[in-house]
């Protein structure tokens, strides 16, 4: 089982990251990945910059825990998580969530699960900057609901 987590200001090369994940899990039959991107419009207008604040130390730990929960629930071979912090421009890459498995269902579900948990449990906060000035992005109730669907019966 391969697991790598990064929190970094710099951009990432999706192709190279997926290549590395595949090289680490050569038995994989399925690779699923998600890339989150800075949208250039917000509720208030055109966005020119997105600033991502985080809680150093806790972010890495939260991502590790999310990945480990996914590993316990699905038969995964590898996981790669990257989340950027700092100042990003419109259309920049924010986050990469990737998983490999023998069959596609595990990788699909695990990636969706990890994004739903990341959105609600990993300490990152987005601030949008544009012609409207700047504002913190509001948490979406739909993200919390998305997480609830993964709750296991006790």
């Amino acid at each position: 089982m391969y697991l790598k987590v990064s929190v970094q200001p710099g951009d990432f090369d999706v192709g190279a990251e997926l290549q590395q994940l595949r090289a680490a899990t050569p038995q994989a039959g399925a690779l699923v990945n998600f890339v989150g991107l800075v949208r250039d419009v917000s509720t208030d207008g055109q966005v020119s910059e997105m600033v991502i604040e985080h809680y150093p130390g806790m972010t890495e730990k939260a991502l590790q825990q999310i990945a480990q929960q996914a590993m316990q629930r699905w038969p995964l071979l590898g996981i790669r998580l990257i989340h950027r912090v700092g100042s990003l421009t419109a259309q920049a890459q924010i986050v990469l969530v990737a998983a490999t498995s023998l069959h596609r269902q595990a990788a699909f579900e695990a990636c969706a699960f990890m994004m739903d948990y990341l959105k609600t449990e990993a300490p990152f906060w987005k601030k949008e900057v544009g012609d409207f000035g700047q504002h913190w992005v509001e948490a979406r109730a739909s993200d919390e609901q998305a997480k609830q669907q993964w709750k296991l019966p006790k």
Binding site: G36, I52, E53, H54, Y55, G57, M58, K61, A62, H83, I94, V95, M115, L118, K119, T120, E121, A122, P123, F124, W125, K126, K127, W136, V137, E138, A139
Partner: protein
């Protein structure tokens, strides 16, 4: 007991700094008691913890709820709902 408190994002902007070391009275050992104790500092703090906005808390990098307890030397953090991803 002495702990470190960190503030993030909108909450950091409200309190106007990102961290502080505080020495707490003995009975303040839960998140809810800490929120109440901090509210005693004045209107800004009271408004922050009056329930009008969600404030999440972590102890030593773990998300916790209001009833969680901390110990001497712990790092407690307050922040708004997260919006990464």
């Amino acid at each position: 007991m002495k702990i470190t408190i960190l503030y993030f994002a909108r909450i950091k902007e409200v309190v106007n700094y990102s961290s502080e070391d505080v020495v707490l009275p003995e009975e303040v050992e839960t998140i809810i008691a800490l929120k109440s104790w901090l509210s005693g500092r004045g209107a800004t703090w009271q408004k922050l913890f009056d329930g009008s906005g969600v404030v999440r808390a972590a102890i030593n990098h773990e998300l916790v709820d209001d009833m969680a307890t901390f110990d001497e030397g712990d790092e407690v953090a307050f922040f708004p709902p997260v919006t990464g991803g």
